[in-house]
Amino acid sequence: MMMANDIRPEPSAKTGERLLDVKGLTIEIETRNGPATIVDGIDLHVDKGETLGIVGESGCGKSLTMLSMMRLLPNKIKVTKGEANFAGRDLQKMSNSELRKVRGGEVGFIFQDPMTSLNPVMRIGQQLAEPLIYHRGMSKAEARKRAGELLKLVGIPGAEDRLDAYPHELSGGMRQRVMIAIGLACNPQLLIADEPTTALDVTIQAQIVDLVKDLRDKLGMSVVWITHDLALIAGLVDRINVLYAGTVVEDAPVDALFANPSHPYTQGLLASIPKLSDERSARLSSIGGTPPEPGRRPKGCPFAPRCPLVEAICHERVPTLEGLNHDGAHRVACFVAQRKLEAA
């Protein structure tokens, strides 16, 4: 285990210490009709060594929250309120040069589309070496040697020979492994994986999930895995946050979420996963309607217009995340679910 030693000695167990703490982050986009809120006061946290899954349908602000947290979004999209503390420092208030040290150095990213997230005119060895030279001050030769080790680490056959390959010479799965290697290059404390398997076929998806799991346990880092596929990450994450229209509607340890999904939206998401035991003729279950457009958020609970359990109060007030009685770690933002569980 030479590798693990020279990377980081800490054990991979959870410590309960906050690594990332996002509080009340509000993100607005400039439109022709003035600013529109996309993410409304979101709260998130990730402990050291913990793996958090963020789930939600397209356009609910999953990637946006992570990207804007690192200030990686175009000028049109702005964080207007809230803070994002990483290891005790607010990313929103950092100077650009401090932020650059965090990006890539302490927080690694894996992006959605491996086909377009690598520079097509640069050999992958160089792309891997870039953060090492920049953040770790390695010489070119050292960085190249380390790049070879990283490719081996993510399971690319013939790693050393592949250093001189261009991205277009690799398959999608291989490119995603390269992306992971780049994300891991500087031994980040936090790895943010933004739907890293969406562009890949199912067998490769499972391989990538297993790979990240192995690497996480070996290197003892925290992981945030953004996805819309609940089933895929069930075996990987410790805790899941369900996002809807830019707010966290349910926050629960992974087992509790599957055993006792409390928010009607989570229930709908789980019900929409097809099961082998379903009748072949049965229609696939779906949630009717579409999420609210930014700038046209309903007054009360954002899910109210699509909710099967909607009540009068849901149109009036916005529910907050409250811990459920029997389990403080399982929190849900829904009046109906809260009342039901209090009564039980």
Binding site: M70, V121, M122, Y134, L153, Y166, D214
Partner: protein, 319 residues
């Protein structure tokens, strides 16, 4: 050294093929482009080594053999002063290449820098650069060169002559490069806008590609991202534009020299040779045919090469 268990089937390992080598393979299959490339290489060779290889000096006159038709001793014949036309055409190649390369180099340098900065940073910088581009494009190049010839050239030349007489400093003796510097320097200063526009458009589209966000997420500085991620990806269309631009600059040099505002005699240029030949073409057609044919050949060769490069570097656009 421990390795994560591998569950993939091994992929075939073949020697890496670079984008450029790939483009070269496609270029080689295009006959017109290969023809263009061969002509350009021959002309470049003539421009560099020509004066050492030609049988006669381009200035040496032989008044006993004036206006001779092409023969084995004078491939393209001789002109009205008995100078060897072949040697002069070869030397004209050097003039044409020198002008084309200098003009294009300066124009590309200015255009790429301004275009890349404007596209990458946007905002007020973009507005200023685009305003400058539009303004520069509105200046007709022929008019500018004529104005500069009429206003700046003779005072500077006569000032240099007087300095030479006063100081005998050899720096001031040759006034020929004033032609080059003034005329073609000014040409370069107004021919950068197309490059700036091209690069800006490229950068605008590249800037929003995922690999740029990925590079930013790695904490790389804007300078590194611009130099190593943005500009190299914008290079393909730029190479095509440069190849076409070199041909255009050569034709322009000939056009100016033809009109008497470019390179001054006795320095041979295809343009001023055509101009001289035009007066006597009924009697001595070879004096017009030789420089005109070479100019035409050069122009066609650069455009074939440019088209070929365009297809080779943008495989998706090719049929």
């Amino acid at each position: 050294m421990s390795v994560v268990p591998m569950t993939t089937t091994p992929i075939e390992i073949e020697p890496p093929v670079s984008l450029w080598r790939d483009a070269w393979h496609r270029l080689r299959r295009n006959r017109l482009a290969v023809f263009g490339l061969i002509v350009v290489v021959i002309l470049a060779f003539a421009a560099i080594f020509g004066p050492y290889l030609t049988p006669y000096d381009f200035l040496s006159q032989d008044l006993n053999s004036r206006n001779m038709a092409p023969s084995l001793s004078h491939l393209f014949g001789t002109d009205d002063l008995g100078r060897d036309v072949f040697s002069r055409v070869v030397y004209g190649t050097r003039t044409a290449f020198l002008v084309a390369i200098v003009v294009t180099f300066i124009a590309v340098l200015i255009g790429v820098t301004l275009g890349a900065l404007a596209g990458f940073f946007g905002g007020w910088l973009d507005r200023i650069v685009m305003w400058l581009t539009d303004m520069t494009m509105s200046i007709p190049n022929l008019l500018l060169v004529v104005v500069i010839n009429a206003s700046l050239k003779s005072p500077i030349t006569s000032w240099m002559e007087s300095r030479y007489l006063a100081t005998l400093n050899p720096v001031y003796r040759e006034t020929i490069w004033v032609d080059f510097l003034l005329v073609f320097g000014s040409m370069a200063l107004i021919s950068w806008p197309p490059y700036a526009r091209l690069v800006r458009a490229q950068v605008l589209s590249i800037r929003s590609r995922p690999y740029i966000t990925a590079a930013q997420a790695l904490g790389l500085t804007n300078r590194i991202i611009l130099m190593r991620y943005v500009v190299p990806n914008a290079l393909g269309p730029l190479i095509v534009a440069v190849s076409a631009g070199l041909g255009t600059a050569m034709v322009l040099e000939s056009a100016f020299s033809f009109l008497g505002v470019g390179v001054n005699p006795p320095t041979p240029s295809w343009g001023n040779m055509i101009s001289d030949g035009l007066r006597v073409w009924q009697h001595y057609p070879h004096l017009l045919a030789a420089p005109a044919a070479v100019l035409g050949l050069a122009s066609v060769a650069f455009s074939f090469l440019g088209d070929g490069l365009n297809d080779a570097l943008n495989p998706r656009g090719a049929k």
